[in-house]
Symmetry: C2
Subunit: 276 residues, 2 copies
Amino acid sequence: MQRPCARQHHMEESETESETDSEPESMRCISCKVEYVTRDAGTCKECYEEASETEEELKREIRDLEAKVAFLKLCSPTDHQQQQLGGRSGGSGFTDIVLVAAEDGPDGGPSMPVPAHRAILANRSPVFKAMLENEMEESRSGTIKISDVSYDALRAFVNYLCSAEACLDEQMACELLVLAEKYQVEHLKAYCEKFLVSKLNWDNSIVNYAFAHQHNAKLLLEAALSLILDNMDKLRKCQEYSEFVEKHPALVVKIYEKCLAKQENTAAPKDTSAKT
Amino acid sequence: MQRPCARQHHMEESETESETDSEPESMRCISCKVEYVTRDAGTCKECYEEASETEEELKREIRDLEAKVAFLKLCSPTDHQQQQLGGRSGGSGFTDIVLVAAEDGPDGGPSMPVPAHRAILANRSPVFKAMLENEMEESRSGTIKISDVSYDALRAFVNYLCSAEACLDEQMACELLVLAEKYQVEHLKAYCEKFLVSKLNWDNSIVNYAFAHQHNAKLLLEAALSLILDNMDKLRKCQEYSEFVEKHPALVVKIYEKCLAKQENTAAPKDTSAKT
């Protein structure tokens, strides 16, 4: 903070002007406390103070929202179930319906029912809402059967509907995305997509591209496609290519179309100049 | 902070020539685009850029949290009830219990039941949880009677338990604070306290002070007490004073104790010097 003054003292000592000779005047940054020269100047003091206040306000808002989320989260009924050592559903979690996975149970046996709340299911998913409000078979029997899903994924699904939280790996993210798509739980679908995008790499890009297409996951589709387009030289050489062509020819066509469109776009200015 | 330097500039000016003649070098603030001089400098460019990124991140976090809150909010069962034109509880809101206010109903008639979900009540309030899990009378009958509360407040209470939202005025905030205290819903209690603190003024400070004391609302108590201590000259002259002394003598004593302690603290240095 005192440095600039100290420097001027020295200059006065040497008694002539020369000031312009030297470095541009330096200042000390209020934030990082490091000296900088005019060309590295950022904001004025007033804007710095305003920005600090804004940051404090935003942090307060985040704390408030986090408290709200904590308040609104529902303790998962499967936790209650476990506390009761596999006790019957409808125990202390006040559940009033069960979901049953068509696949195997946790240890290969018949699938354990996952207890849930009608109110929560209907609130989070328009599909469950229609199913339950219209007194369909599921509503009358109090059991919703769900095919093509593991018990663990179904449990994680119900947990997410209660708490907006899930512990994901790639397998789980895919299973939950499928459920989210089927039952129109947009928040969960976006959550899974973001996770899968963060795990994208060349090795899983083709699988993810096909998966995203099948389940209408646009964010993941775009990200996977973009990764494939950046690695077109590897595409035909990779192991899965022939299987991919066989299973999803239309998707492969789309990749080539996009690739050519991209080339044309890049090449366009050159072509024009060549013609003129 | 930069003042001494500015003064040195003047000294140099009188001695020598040029450049120092002019104002200190000016810069343009990256944020507000206004020119400023060295003494008004805030941050370096790097810190400005970092701060901007941080702000963006915080805003993203807020958007995510807001989406989470929207996802977790439960559509209030009283909305369902109204949609059904006063239809029976347990309709499309999948409610499984009703709360009944001991006071009058909305138009002076007998109180209408407010439908609710056992799972939500038990999740948000340890008192409801104990009541419902232990199969007490309320749990068996499916009706929880709540005394000393208006129908409107009870409805707002259930809504808040579902959505973490309430439309407050001072009357409603007081009623909800009482319910929140009784059923140990900390989030709602803090919400009401904050609202009441924001509405504090000299005219309502004594009432709020007594109210806060009665319902163990520490934030409100401190704020009201501090306001009273700042206006001690008005205290004995105000209308409610004699009634206040009669009803809450211990609270009045506390005010005087605090007032004297404050005076002693302020006067302490003076007294010492007077003695020496």
